[in-house]
């Protein structure tokens, strides 16, 4: 009876007769048997809702229903939501309100919303929350999803309109036609219909499925691997171990290549990859893994960085003598003279802060496909990568192939936040297995494997000391940070530098000392997570500033204003800040958040707090040494002049670059946004771009696109000038016309000029590139990390309610003010801010990857590792202050990462205001607050923190 069973599934109104195995879930039947890949797989255990479909009109998780058990029911998937070419009003509303970012959760959100509206066409906020709490969105699009559902009918009344809409919140007055407008996301129609094909949705003929076996011990030597039984399993085509992979070490930072594709001898954490299998389907591959026998000689392991630095601690990388005492990276900086600074201080605060192991948890598990091509040694790799170029580079290096023989394709990425920045064993093993079998191989991490591969936030142990004068002026800052690096370097060298380099960018610090030690432990490797290295030290600094302000009787916003960074400043650590409206963010926050009326005047248990932060707009230097420009773009005008194609290899990971870059192209060209086609991200089509990390895309890729567009425009203006008999410099291109600036009525259609150009000399193509200004930063060791052409600044004011009996914190409201330069698209801009706040909220209050004494993770799933739901979403008022960055395209700089670092301190400071508990450990759990409240009571403190210190 365990063979296949014939069932009839009614999906989207059509009957399908399928022969399924009884253990096949409805999710897999829909995706793999019917090819309806709009329904996404996010966790396989009912925790995320990405697989939501309707079963007899009710929202259900298709991962928790057997296909055989669903026979006889009416099933509706995202593909069945629109009727033909006509989108469902809800889909239109999602597009209109920008209720999607990476889009991976979107089909599930839409189906859950559809089920709600069927029963209740006018749901309240609470009803929406109850109906959608089971649909996680890691991009934090919840406020927009709620708005779209509330207004679903009014969106339906309007035709789908991709024309620029002036945004009602636009603070900035620029004479721009496309930039600054909340145009429809380029990727929205595909993402609301389930048409967007993420890497895991791709089906190639003859494709095999691979899986990787992880170590079950945290530290050990592999004494024997027996793969015979796995090889004999029917359906298995190849099995590889450490013997079958190149000897080359790889990693992220060239100075610390310490990883191998599969362990050759030593495993260094539970989950460390030891063998891989390719089979006809995932189920067979998974079964084959269970048949691989690995014998380990278990060695003592170390899970705490302080213990790992002791002389007798086990070494995680004994092969590399340079990593004595498990010190992976050491940073020792001293700018100015902190001893003198502290001597001059009137008030000093010193405190230990302990961070958490938070994880990016993108909703789309990482996936890769490799296929060797039939024309001689060429390889195509698809990967859900934030940094396709670095992957191409690393694959070329490890497999000793010319970069040009590797074709990298980056399908839509279902969220990254730093988790998908590096080449993983998935890409490497897929390439090897594809070569061995002669067939394409797809590899995916399960949700659990995502947690084990990790590359999330480094847990930092921060000892920070800050000195100020009576008026609040900073005299010295000193910090010593231990970073728990886990078993490999990943981005960690850079993390250790960022944890120190970014602190002096926000406030003017005259004397600064930073000692950072990144320590190896036998835990999953930490990497680069949104805000890279910065949020935890920022949490410490923002907390200390509030403590000092209280000591001095100063208002927390006032103490920040007195030290705030100003434009055109070189920081103590030689970073050049150009545009800077940090003070404006503080002043507007004070004015518009109700700060003065609320601060110190809220009911017991209610509190308000401020936090600040910011980030680089792209790193000044690439990760590996290269003279190539960081971003490169090509624009080709179509023959009829009514469209252009933009070729650029950036990574749309939800942040909106596939919309913002066409906007920049359209603005510079002088044509409507709708005339821009964006080519797929494919290295055969587009030149290199370093990818989506360090918040670099808007400024760097934006500049490259603007330059390519300017080159096209200049060709067209010359031709138009000849036709109009004027000087090209007197011409303007705008909204599809080219005309004499002083006589706008005298002109020609942009398309007409383009047709002339094509007819005369063939394709009109423009190219552009961006290289950061040369020589950024100082000359000391590590001076390059933290350099950037521009910095963002932000102030966040948070309001919380603390349940004084249980310690539970409800974040009620955020007022956020960002200096991100010119806002290219207010919809994607505020979407990023809202998402950063929600992610920051999770990191502050909920998230921590925990492990037991043997290095086994205790919560490698979305059931035990809790990320915010729609019910945890505060009211968010996000505003951009007027700012113009000279190095940015149309004055723009970053927003995606700088919006997160202020959040931790803002919440912690609000909690202190609400109940007098000064949290110094992340996450700030209800239990820890209750402990703090008790300690306060025992010391005789009042119910709130006002006027007293803990």
């Amino acid at each position: 009876m365990s063979g296949r069973i014939l069932v009839s599934l009614k999906v989207n109104g059509r009957e399908h007769d399928l022969a399924v195995k009884p253990n096949t879930t409805l999710l897999h039947a829909i995706r793999d048997e019917l090819g309806l890949t709009g329904t996404k797989c996010g966790c396989e255990s009912g925790d995320c809702g990405a697989c939501t479909v309707l079963l007899d009109g009710r929202a259900v998780n298709s991962c928790l229903i057997l296909a055989v058990d669903a026979a006889g029911a009416e099933i509706t998937t995202i593909e069945g939501l629109a009727s033909g070419a006509e989108l469902h009003p809800l889909q239109k509303a999602f597009i209109k309100y920008g209720a999607l970012q990476c889009g991976y959760c979107t089909p599930g959100q839409l189906m859950a919303a559809r089920a709600l509206l069927e029963r209740n066409p006018n749901p309240s906020r609470e009803e929406i929350h109850a109906a959608l709490s089971g649909n996680l969105c890691r991009c934090g699009t919840y406020p927009r999803i709620e708005q779209a559902i509330q207004n679903w009918r009014s969106a339906a009344d309007q035709a789908l309109d991709a024309r620029p809409r002036p945004d009602d919140e636009q603070d900035q007055q620029r004479d721009l036609q496309v930039v600054g407008h909340g145009v429809t996301r380029y990727d929205a129609p595909d993402k609301v219909t389930g048409r967007a094909r993420y890497t895991g949705d791709i089906r190639l003929p003859d494709m095999l499925h691979g899986k990787i076996l992880g170590s079950r011990v945290a530290h050990g030597i592999i004494r024997r691997i027996d793969t015979a039984r796995a090889r004999e399993l029917p359906g298995v085509l190849a099995v590889i171990t450490g013997r079958d992979v190149p000897d080359t070490w790889y990693g992220v930072s060239p100075a610390r290549y310490d990883e191998q594709i599969l362990a050759k001898e030593r495993v260094r954490y539970v989950g460390d990859e030891v063998a891989a299998v390719a089979a006809v389907d995932e189920e067979t591959a998974e079964r084959a893994l269970q048949l691989i026998e690995v014998e380990y000689e278990e060695l003592p392991a170390v899970f705490d960085p302080e213990e790992a630095m002791q002389p007798d601690a086990p070494l995680v990388h004994p092969e590399h003598p340079r990593f004595a005492r498990n010190v992976n990276t050491k940073v020792e900086w001293h700018f100015g003279d902190v001893a003198r600074g502290f001597a001059e201080a009137d008030c000093i605060r010193e405190q230990r802060f302990v961070g958490n192991r938070s994880y990016q948890a993108p909703l789309e598990p990482h996936a890769a496909i490799a296929r060797w091509e039939h024309h001689g040694g060429r390889l195509t790799v698809w990967s859900s990568a934030q940094t396709p170029h670095y992957m191409q580079h690393m694959l070329a290096r490890v497999f000793e192939l010319p970069m040009g023989s590797i074709r990298m394709i980056r399908p839509p990425v279902g969220g990254g936040f730093g988790a998908k920045c590096e080449t993983t064993p998935l890409e490497f093993c897929a390439v090897i297995l594809a070569r061995m079998t002669g067939r394409p191989v797809m590899m995916k991490y399960s949700r659990q494997e995502m947690f084990y591969h990790f590359r999330g936030r480094h847990k930092q142990y921060i000892d920070m000391k800050v000195g100020v004068k009576k008026d609040g002026t900073l005299t010295a800052v000193q910090s010593r940070i231990l970073l728990d690096g886990g078993a490999y370097t990943s981005f960690g060298v850079i993390t250790a530098y960022y944890a120190g380099s970014m602190l002096p960018t926000l406030y003017k610090i005259p004397n600064y000392k930073y000692d950072g030690y990144r320590i190896y432990t036998n835990l999953p490797a930490s990497g680069a997570m949104r805000g890279h290295g910065v949020p935890q030290p920022r949490f410490a600094m923002e907390s200390l500033l509030d403590m000092l302000a209280e000591d001095l009787g100063l208002d927390p916003i006032e103490i920040r204003l007195r030290n705030a960074m100003e434009p055109n400043t070189r920081t103590i650590n030689d970073l050049d800040v150009s545009s800077c409206e940090f003070k404006a963010t503080l002043e507007r926050a004070r004015r518009e958040s109700g700060w003065t009326e609320k601060r110190g005047r809220l009911a017991p248990g209610k509190g308000i707090g401020v936090g600040c932060g910011g980030f680089v707009s792209g790193a000044g230097y690439p990760i590996y040494r290269s003279d190539f420009p960081h971003s490169n773009a090509v624009i080709r005008v179509h023959e009829d002049g009514l469209a252009v194609s933009l070729f650029i290899a950036t990574a749309e990971i939800g942040q909106g670059c596939d919309t913002v870059l066409p906007q920049i192209a359209a603005e510079e060209l002088g044509i409507p946004y709708e005339r821009v086609w964006l080519a797929e991200c494919d290295s055969v089509l587009a030149p290199i771009d370093l990818g989506s990390y360090a918040s670099r895309v808007t400024l760097m890729a934006g500049n490259a696109v603007k330059m390519a567009a300017a080159e096209v425009k200049s060709q067209l203006l010359k031709i138009a000038a000849r036709q109009l008999g004027c000087d090209p410099h007197g011409l303007t291109a705008r909204d599809g016309r080219i005309f004499i600036a002083e006589h706008p009525q005298l002109g020609m259609g942009w398309d007409e000029v383009a047709r002339l150009a094509f007819s005369r000399s063939g394709p009109v193509v423009g190219t552009g590139y961006y290289q950061p200004p040369p020589g950024l930063g100082g000359t000391y060791k590590g001076a390059t990390v933290g350099t950037s052409p521009a910095y963002s600044f932000a102030t966040s004011v948070c309001e919380v309610a603390v349940d004084l009996q249980t310690g539970y914190v409800t974040v009620e409201r955020f007022h956020d003010f960002s200096d991100a330069g010119t806002v290219i698209n207010p919809v994607t801009f505020h979407g990023q801010v809202e998402g950063g706040i929600i992610m920051g909220l999770g990191e502050t209050l909920l998230e921590d990857v925990r492990h037991d004494r043997r290095g086994v993770l205790l919560n490698p799933d979305l059931h035990g590792y809790l990320i915010p739901t729609i019910c945890d979403t505060p009211a968010i008022h996000s505003r951009a202050v007027d700012s113009y960055e000279p190095h940015g395209p149309f004055g723009a700089k970053e927003i995606g990462e700088g919006c997160l670092p202020p959040i931790l301190g803002a919440i912690a400071n609000a909690i202190y205001d609400a109940c007098g508990v000064r949290a110094t450990e992340l996450p700030i759990t209800a239990e820890s607050i209750l402990r703090g409240l008790k300690a306060r009571r025992e010391r005789g403190g009042g119910p709130t923190g006002r006027g007293s210190t803990t």
């Binding site: 879930t25 009912g46 809702g49 928790l64």
Partner: protein, 292 residues
């Protein structure tokens, strides 16, 4: 996360389901909503050679409102129970409790019977049902039996169900006049989070005194725990803040919580104390006919 090979059966009657399960032996699991069973099978926490789907068994369906109380079929989904007008009339606290559970998808799929039979210690429907004196009807090869809900749970994921035995329905006798119930739970996030501690309270007022009280604790013991010491304090006393505080402390003392990633043993005891007071206050207000 693949489920191991198994056979699937879909009987059309209760008798057939019991017969099948009896014949297939120890490797059989009844499939109801599947929201817990499938996760356990994928994660290999549980194993099954055979699944007997209860989807088509008519005897397990529906919610009946009869003179002797509510009869909730084991296969009634949580959403069905929460939306039932009979439940809203007879025992509204149960609907409220269900709305704190999972997300809409889980409530649509999961069944109340499954919530009982998987017997995880943080299950949300048993504490209130125990407090209300629910009786469970079980059917198996040996015939039917009826037992008080409090006798059903043996330990974490363990019940008195014999192989091949099915939970048919949950019978909630009518609540006496001047009775109020409340379910208070604490979880770590605003939605989609299991209970860290939970308290169900039922109060019957006898004039100005508490005629009868029942307090059942969830997520803080291997099984839903009837807080007998706490209940003893309440009987025949006039409801008052001091009384409830004492009852809360008693409940906290009799809880048997563990420490895990969601909270320490000590914190869970504190939560029990707070939640007990809140549940007693709300239940008392409801017993007085106040809207809460």
């Amino acid at each position: 996360m693949e489920i191991a090979d198994l056979s699937y059966h879909r009987p059309a009657t209760l008798a057939e389901a019991c017969r099948l399960a009896g014949r297939l032996g120890a490797g059989v699991r009844f499939l109801a909503g599947g929201t817990e069973l499938l996760v356990d099978l994928k994660s290999k926490r549980d194993a099954a050679e055979h699944l007997v789907s209860l989807r088509d068994v008519p005897e397990l369906r529906g919610i009946r409102d009869e003179d002797d109380g509510l009869h909730i079929g084991a296969m009634a989904s949580l959403a069905e129970v929460a939306e039932s007008s009979a439940v809203a009339r007879r025992f509204p606290a149960l609907g409220e409790a269900i709305l704190t559970m999972g997300g809409a998808q889980i409530r649509n799929q999961a069944t109340i019977g499954g919530n009982f039979c998987r017997a995880v210690s943080c299950a949300d429907t048993p504490p209130l049902c125990l407090a209300a004196g629910a009786r469970l009807r079980l059917a198996g090869g040996e015939g039917e039996r009826i037992l008080p809900a409090e006798e059903f749970f043996v330990g974490p994921r363990l019940t008195v169900l014999q192989p091949g035995e099915v939970l048919v329905e949950i019978h909630l006798p009518p609540l006496p006049a001047a009775t109020g119930a409340s379910y208070q739970r604490f979880s770590l996030r605003g939605g989609m989070a299991v209970a860290v501690a939970a308290v169900a309270a039922l109060i019957r007022l006898d004039g100005e005194r508490i005629g009868a009280a029942r307090v059942v604790l969830g997520a803080v013991a291997p099984v839903p725990l009837i807080a007998r010491a706490c209940t003893g304090i309440l009987a025949d006393e006039p409801p008052a803040a001091g009384l409830f505080a004492r009852a809360g402390r008693a409940a906290a003392a009799e809880a048997q919580p563990i420490t895990d990633i969601r909270g320490s043993e000590a914190y869970r005891r504190e939560l029990v104390e707070i939640l007990t007071v809140r549940a007693l206050e709300t239940a008392t207000a409801r017993a007085r006919g106040e809207r809460t």
